[in-house]
Symmetry: C2
Subunit: 344 residues, 2 copies
């Protein structure tokens, strides 16, 4: 477990503009970008302590992933390492601290993709795995499949040496309260018959994701989430859907989304960014901006989400149409940046 | 239930080149194309009676879907109607007659997408719903979500008036034998630790799908499957993944895939066809051929699958890189065609 000292050190680094030394032997620039969810995140809603805590966690996740890259490690490993930090943190809606389903469960989704091979692994609606991103990686590397869900995914986990984590471990009072508040707001008479969620806005906090570029020029992307507060039991969002919330292809980019996943799924948002680059020759920035600010807004409206992405040059983009997005990156220049609000 | 007489009549129609009268009031041509799976399907492996039975079922599914279109109905309804015929038939690996998972279960996947709105619904790993395509439609129209899986999907089904179907209903001796034969072929020592499937070829028979164009010019696509014989419990393939096995967009095309789904998922195969048309201006034929004969073969090799697709002009394509694909269509000319083998 991380210590308070580490958090403080990370917070200092995050604010200091500290520059990591890039390894001179690398043939490719190395870079990593992460997000901790997009939504109605404004300075007014956050205490200074909360603001600091989020920045510290983001910085620690970045440093953890970047350390893998600096040591010559693979992008997929950097992505997994960064996401595991955020899955451990109760601040984010992934692993510990996940939101609750309509039925009061923590059901977790995750995916990882290796842009070098287009190999991918994903899990949906798992309930007893502390690090869903690690299970997604195991599906990618140790099964013939891309995606496993529910009980079958947990059977696979057990067979591959994962320990089962009790439901209580994922519990946080804050997410439970949001669950109860949400249930109260549901339309009268809908208790027995799941209907449209009352709130279509601001319900999608805290999904985490990472995209990395390693010294070999390989790109990987990963995403992990508890989904939406009050989602129906068994709901699978965009995060574990290859091409929707998670995609990576060395030839174009890697990307991880966060927001109201149903729109990302219908657009295949991350694959669309890749296709715009490959088929139209658009830059990463233009392609990602178009999907978030034009296509996504036209389909779902403002306040529907954001995406992080990077390409083989190490260019990094983080467009979002919400009030804020927890985000950070260490680019080819080795500089660490962490941001939360739109005008951060 | 269909009668033997209907089957015979359908078989006669299928072989006769019977031309349906197109409705003169339509502003858009109407058309429908279906598949019943791709794989190592050769004339030598089929008895004349089996050959006739498959052609009759395909013809009946086409006629059922086409009747919806002729009466001015919607493409989504035509797709659902055609697929329900094949889900009922024990010949196809969808609904009744589905293959068995590693754990001896029938776990069903399905998706439907409306190209007019990009609305979509999908279910994964459901076990007690006779018509998964109908449940996918309910997810699209009666929930805030795109995808539900496992127990949660069944809870939703129950709340929305679906009857639960006992597991025994899905059983066929033929699929159970394939399951047992597959288990015997698994590598020694792998019983407790799911590993790569021994057979990567010919295991993907019988997924069903339909794509339709209605008089309003709207396109819809749907897919339903039991997945792969001996798949791990909880495995979700490409069929219910929007953009992988199922996609529809009025602006480009509708498409439904069949084959080794893991490759379709990593390529987002059906969305890629749409993107090649939208972003490169390729014809439907060129885009679909490229994805099946170039991209899919490069990633997974020959014998990995096929796709059916149609566009707003009513053009229909059915490329596959396998020995055969159960397929049929009624195009803008109203002519019914049913084929099975490569050189049919």
């Amino acid at each position: 477990m991380r210590t308070a000292l580490t958090l403080v050190a990370a917070a200092i680094l995050a604010g200091s503009g500290f520059v990591f030394s890039a390894n001179a032997r690398g043939v490719s620039p190395i870079a990593i970008v992460i997000h901790g969810g997009a939504g109605t995140i404004t300075k007014a809603d956050m205490t200074p302590a909360e603001d600091r805590a989020y920045r510290a966690e983001l910085a620690e996740a970045l440093q953890t992933g970047y350390a893998v890259l600096r040591q010559g490690g693979r992008a997929v490993d950097a992505v997994q390492a960064a996401i595991e930090v955020m899955e451990l943190s109760p601040l984010f809606n992934a692993g510990r601290g996940a939101v609750f389903t309509r039925g009061g469960l923590n059901q977790l989704d995750a995916a990882i993709m290796d842009g070098a091979t287009l190999n991918a692994g994903a899990v949906g609606a798992v309930q007893h795995v502390a690090h869903p991103i690690r299970l997604a990686y195991a599906v990618m590397t140790q099964s013939a499949h891309v995606m496993l869900v529910g009980q079958g995914a947990e059977t696979f986990a057990w067979a591959h040496g994962f320990k089962f984590t009790p439901s209580a471990w994922f519990y946080t009072q804050r997410r439970w309260q949001a669950h109860i508040d949400g249930l109260k707001k549901l339309a009268a008479g809908s208790a027995g018959t799941p209907e449209r969620l009352v709130s279509g806005r601001g319900w999608a906090f805290g999904t985490v994701g990472a995209v990395a570029l390693d010294r070999e020029g390989h790109i990987a992307a990963g995403t992990s989430t508890g989904g939406l507060t009050n989602k129906l039991d068994g709901r699978v969002g965009d995060s574990p859907i290859i091409g929707a919330g998670t995609y990576a292809d060395d030839a174009t980019c890697g990307a991880s989304g966060t927001g109201t996943g149903e729109y990302f799924m219908r657009l295949d948002l991350t694959k669309s960014i890749s296709d715009l680059m490959a088929l139209k020759g658009w830059s990463l920035q233009k392609a990602a901006d178009y999907m978030i600010h034009d296509r996504l807004v036209k389909l779902g409206g403002e306040d529907t989400g954001g995406v992080i992405a990077l390409d083989a040059k190490g260019d990094i983009v983080t467009p979002f149409n919400t009030q804020g997005m927890y985000r950070g990156w260490i680019g080819a220049d080795g500089r660490l940046t962490v941001k939360i609000y739109k005008d951060d």
